[in-house]
Structures are given as C-alpha cells and as structure tokens.
C-alpha cells in the first residue's frame, strides 16, 4: 500500500524554509476556519446532525486530538501501554471543577494547578508501575483509571455520582469571550494548545529525551545497558503525557460547565488509544489525523443512531486489518527496527 507519510515527508523535505512557513500558517488558518465550514455551501457536508458542528469540533474532535498527542508520548514514543489515560483527563477536569466552585478561582489560574496535579498523580502511578513489564503496566494503568473514577463517585467533595455543576467558563482574553454562544473561540484555544503540544513533542523528539524514549521503545534492556536511565525517562514520558491530559481536562470542564464521573469511563481511554493506533502510532501527524477522524465520525453518522457504535467497532477491525501501522505510519527507518524485535 502507498505510504502517504513517506510521500508527504519527501515533498516537505523538498521545500525551502519560506515555503514551509507559508504552508504551516495556511494550514493553521484553514483549521481555524473549520467552525464556519458547516454553514458555507461547498463544505456543508461536514455538518453533523443533532449535535452542533462547532461543539463537536471542540469536544470530541479537538480534545481527542490533544489527548491523543499526549498519549502518543507514552504509547507511541516510548512504547508504554497506558490503558488508563482518562484518569489524568478526569484529574484536570475535577481540579477545575473543585477549585473554581469552591475557591472561586479563574480557569487560567487553575490551569497550572490542573497540570501539576495530573503530573503528581502521574509520578505516583508511574513510580511503582513503570518498574513492571509492558502488559502489567497496561493492567495497572487500567486499574488506576477505574480507581480515579470510583473515588470521584464515592467521595462527597467531588459531588458523588451527580458530579459538579455550575463550573464557570474561562474569563475573556484580549476581548475574546469564552461562553456558550462562541464555541469557535474554544476551538481556537484548543488549536493553540495543540500547536503548543506539537512544538513541545517535536523539541523533545530531537533531543536527549526523544532519543532515550526511542531507545527504550526499541529495546529496553539494551537502552539500560547503554547507560540510559530507563526508569527516569519512562517516568518523564508518563508525566508529560499526564500533563497534556490534565490541561485538556481543565479546559473541558470549563467548557461543558457540568462534569460527572460518567464522562471519565474506561471507554474514553480506549477511544484515545484507538485514535493513536488508528492514525499511525508514533507519528504526530498520523495521530492527529486518526484522532480527528475517529472523534468526528460517530457524530457525523449519528443518523445511524443505535448502530453507530456497532459500525465504529467494525471500522476499527477493518482498518487495523488493512493498515496495521495506521493511516500515516511512522518513518520506515523506525519501523524496521520495531519489526525485527
């Protein structure tokens, strides 16, 4: 099958710097225009029935892309299977919910705390769990995701099964208001966060942590022999992934204004993992594409009502069988070493 990723990389490498800059800005601009595409004739086929298209763009599409990028650091870059990623999303969301309703803080002030709490919980989970081998890590992270949800259901400060309501929207920035009437503003905010994460991941990838993750993913024992402190770098991957999840959670809670433990079930973790693998594990462009498609399709095909999820399951099976490396796989060079394992 044609390798779109290598083709794209070829074209990209053929360009000079101004050409690349223009292309990047054009893409960002087009993405920014997306919320208006539903009401513009030629692109109105994008519109989603039932749920408003602009809201779909924020959650699930934007949020899933953001979280898939975060999870990609853990699963894609360093090869650690995390089945409880939703926990960090939940921690961010509950931080926002509790701090804004009890302390009356603003979203921007809470954001660093949400990220911090997610990172701390990442360390707490990672320190014992990351000493274990791959599949045990999967079950422990899965358990962690469930534990966070069970605690949210059973403790009073989190509002129990009803969750927390009345979470304020973020205050306006530079005249851009964040309220129910302007979902496109949230979308732009999410795009900004996605760009930030993409930049961060790309920086990490070419530096020491990126090389360490790559080595760990290919062969942990060899990496350790070569002097890579595997536990520390695995922990870093885990914590950075958690931070992205926490940030997404804070933003999500202040957008939807009501959160309940039901929103942070295991299927969200599975969904985000599916986004990562479906799009092309380890390759951020593939991950973004995969997350965009998987998050968008169920809402676009809402007219299938009850059969929506059924079709979704079928799509996953067929796609994985046809393109096991995802839509846009990672570079050939990286893939070969993975297969020879």
């Amino acid at each position: 099958m044609i390798n779109l990723r290598d083709k794209g990389a070829e074209i990209w490498e053929g360009w000079n710097r101004p050409k690349r800059t223009i292309f990047v800005f054009a893409m960002i601009f087009l993405a920014g225009l997306l919320p208006f595409s539903a009401s513009w004739g030629p692109t109105s086929f994008l519109n989603t029935p039932i749920t408003s298209f602009q809201n779909v763009l924020v959650y699930p599409v934007g949020m899933f892309i953001l979280m898939a990028l975060g999870l990609n650091i853990v699963v894609g870059k360093s090869g650690l299977l995390d089945l409880g990623y939703v926990a960090f999303f939940a921690i961010g969301a509950y931080t926002q919910a509790i701090m804004s309703t009890m302390l009356d803080w603003k979203t921007w002030e809470i954001l660093p705390f949400g990220i911090m709490f997610a990172m701390i919980s990442g360390v707490m989970l990672g320190l014992p769990a990351l000493r274990l081998r791959g599949d045990y890590l999967a079950i422990i992270t899965l358990g962690f995701g469930e534990i966070v949800r069970i605690i949210a259901i059973n403790s009073t400060s989190t509002g129990g099964p009803n969750g927390i309501s009345g979470i304020p929207n973020p205050p306006s920035v530079l005249g851009i208001q964040f309220d129910l009437m302007h979902p496109e503003h949230y979308f732009w905010l999410v795009i900004a966060m996605i760009l930030l994460v993409v930049w961060m991941v790309r920086r990490f990838t070419v530096r020491r942590p990126g090389r360490a993750w790559e080595a760990i993913r290919q062969d942990e024992d060899v990496a350790a022999l070569m002097g890579v402190n595997t536990l520390v770098y695995k922990l870093w991957a885990f914590v950075i992934g958690a931070a992205v999840g926490g940030a997404a959670g804070v933003l999500y809670a202040s957008k939807v204004m009501v959160i309940s433990p039901d929103m942070f079930k295991f299927d969200v973790s599975v969904m985000i993992l599916a986004c990562v693998v479906f799009g092309g594990i380890g390759n951020i462009w593939g991950v973004m594409l995969g997350a965009g498609i998987l998050a968008y399709l169920p809402d676009r095909f809402r007219f299938l009502t009850d059969y929506r999820q059924l079709v979704f399951g079928l799509v996953l099976i067929i796609m994985m069988n046809l393109r096991p490396d995802g839509l846009l796989p990672r570079k050939k060079r990286e893939k070969i070493s993975e297969k020879s394992k």
Binding site: D135, A138, L273, A274, F312, G313
Partner: protein, 317 residues
C-alpha cells in the same frame, strides 16, 4: 469499616468468594491461554463471556421453553437442562473465540504487525459484539430462568451451603483439573506448550501454528463459556455489558497468578474472589475494585511475574 463481619461471617464469605473466584478463574483462562501462545491481551474475551451468558438464556428459554416465571424443575429434566445449557454456552463460546481469532488476529499475526494493532482490532471486535447485543436486547437486562431450586444443603460453621454455589465450585474445579491434565499430558497440550515457549522453534518442529492457536482460542472459549453458565446460574441475570467488569476482574486474576500460567489463573481467580468478598464486607462494595488494584500493585512490586510466576521464561518486551 466493619471488621466484626470478618469474624462472624468468615466461612460464609469464604464460600461466596470461592464461587465468585472460580468464575473469575475460568474467564481468566481465556486470557491466560491466549497470552501464553500469542503474548496478547485477548480483549474480546469479556464479550465472549457476555455472549456465553446469552447462549445460556437462549438454550433455556428458546430451546427448552422455560421462562422466567416457570417453577424450578427437578430430577432428570433439571440435569438435562443444566447440562444442555452448560454445553451450549461452552460450544457457542468456543466457536466465537475461534471466529474472533480468525477475524481480529489472524491476518495481523501473519503480517507480523505490532501487538498494539492486534489490541485495537480486538477492542473493535469487543465493541462490535457488545453493541450488537445491546441493539438486540434494547439495552435491557435479561433474567435467566431459575431452573435450579436454590435449596441449602445445610450449614458448616455458620456458612450456608447453597446448592448453586456448591455446583459451581465442584464443577469449576473438575473443569480445571481436566484442562490441566489436557495441557500437561496430551499431544495437543504439548504442542500448545511448545508454541508458548517459542513460536519459531515449534514451527521448525513441524507444529501447525494456525491449528494450535485456533485450538488455544477454542479452549479459552470453552472455559469462558463454562464461566458464563455458572454466572447465569448463580446470579440469574445478564446484560450486554456484563462482560466488562468481569473481564477486567478476570484479567486482573490472570495477572495476579502470573499471566500465561494455567495454575496461576486458577489460584489468582480464587485469591481475587476472596479478596473482593472480604473487601466489600469490610469497606463496602464500592471500594472493592480499589482494594483489588492496590493489592495487585503491591503483589507485582514484590513479585513482578505474579504469585506463581509465568509459565514460560519470557524476556522483557
């Protein structure tokens, strides 16, 4: 916190925990057998279990024409109904597990794809099965008929020996012994063990890999089907997402005992069942999952390959 219940109802909790734990063990076999040969978490196994509970329902209601309101039956008719629904569930689950292998795993395995791709494909299968059942049942829980009158056989140390609990415990142990003998004694069992040690070498020795892997899935399906039957007999209801919680618990049990290890799955399941019963008696049932995972983490920290270790020496992946 309610510690007095531990002493006052100790044996009763043990008995219930044992029955629940053996159901976990049987499902855990579905995970552990597949993990043994393929090094994959068979995510679809929980839905195989779910379909199994519905197979019990179909056999009892549609084939034998008992319904929810019918009276418990006795004697030969009871034995016939129980055995038919047990074998019905086991066969349906075995066939389904083989189908899952064919649809979700085989192509990916032959292409040598990454384990994550297989995982997602299995998750897709799992979503497909549970959503299919949700649409068939309109998301309603279904009650299985009470064929077996739940009489007590008497009490031991204050524990009530209910007939369904006893049947579950005895039958599950028999199934386990049979499986253990099969894997350790028979020719096919030897082939399974060989494949789990090294795929490459067993192929060189002339073992038909596809056949052995299909067989492994079928065995996992058989035990999962048996678990579905016992679950339906003891709890008398099922719903399209029944597999989720039991699947996670069973997988935990498999890891606790040492994944890939058949005896490990057996003891891991029992340990988990007992732990859950005592944890919910002492802390309240909402905290049982939390307790289980904390214990799991502690066990793995002390002994990273599970209580009984993995069946085969496996290098880190």
């Amino acid at each position: 916190m309610n510690f007095s219940v531990v002493t006052s109802e100790f044996w009763s909790l043990c008995l219930q925990g044992l029955a629940l734990g053996l159901i976990y063990s049987l499902i855990a076999l579905g995970y552990t057998m597949v993990y043994g040969v393929l090094r994959l978490i068979n995510f679809a196994n929980s839905e195989v279990f779910m379909i199994g509970t519905f197979a019990v329902l179909v056999v009892q209601v549609n084939l034998l024409h008992h319904d929810v309101t019918s009276q418990p039956i006795h004697g030969f008719a009871l034995a016939k109904a129980l055995i038919l629904s047990l074998f019905g569930a086991m066969i349906v689950c075995a066939l389904l597990a083989m189908l899952v292998e064919l649809v979700a795993y085989r192509r990916l395995r032959l292409h040598g794809s990454s384990r994550l791709a297989s995982l997602i494909s299995a998750i897709g299968t799992s979503i497909f099965l549970s959503e299919g059942m949700r649409n068939l049942t309109n998301s309603r829980p279904q009650t299985t008929p009470r064929l077996l009158e739940k009489t007590s056989l008497g009490t031991i140390w204050g524990a009530n020996l209910r007939i369904d609990t006893i049947i579950t415990i005895v039958a599950a142990i028999i199934i386990f012994l049979a499986l253990d003998q099969f894997v350790n004694r028979s020719r096919l069992g030897k082939a399974i063990r060989a494949v789990s040690m090294s795929e490459e070498n067993s192929r060189l020795m002339g073992i038909n890999l596809n056949k052995v892997i299909t067989l492994t899935f079928a065995i996992g399906g058989l035990t999962t089907g048996a678990a579905a039957f016992f679950y339906a007999t003891v709890y008398e209801n099922t719903i399209f997402n029944v597999g989720f919680n039991l699947g996670i618990a069973a997988f935990t049990a498999a890891v606790l005992g040492g994944i890939g290890n058949i005896r490990g799955a057996f003891y891991g399941g029992i340990a988990l069942g007992l732990l859950e019963q005592f944890a919910s008696a002492v802390l309240g049932s909402q905290w049982k999952a939390v307790t289980v995972f904390i214990v799991l983490v502690l066990v793995l920290l002390v002994k990273p390959s599970g209580i009984f270790g993995e069946a085969v020496q496996q290098t880190r992946t």
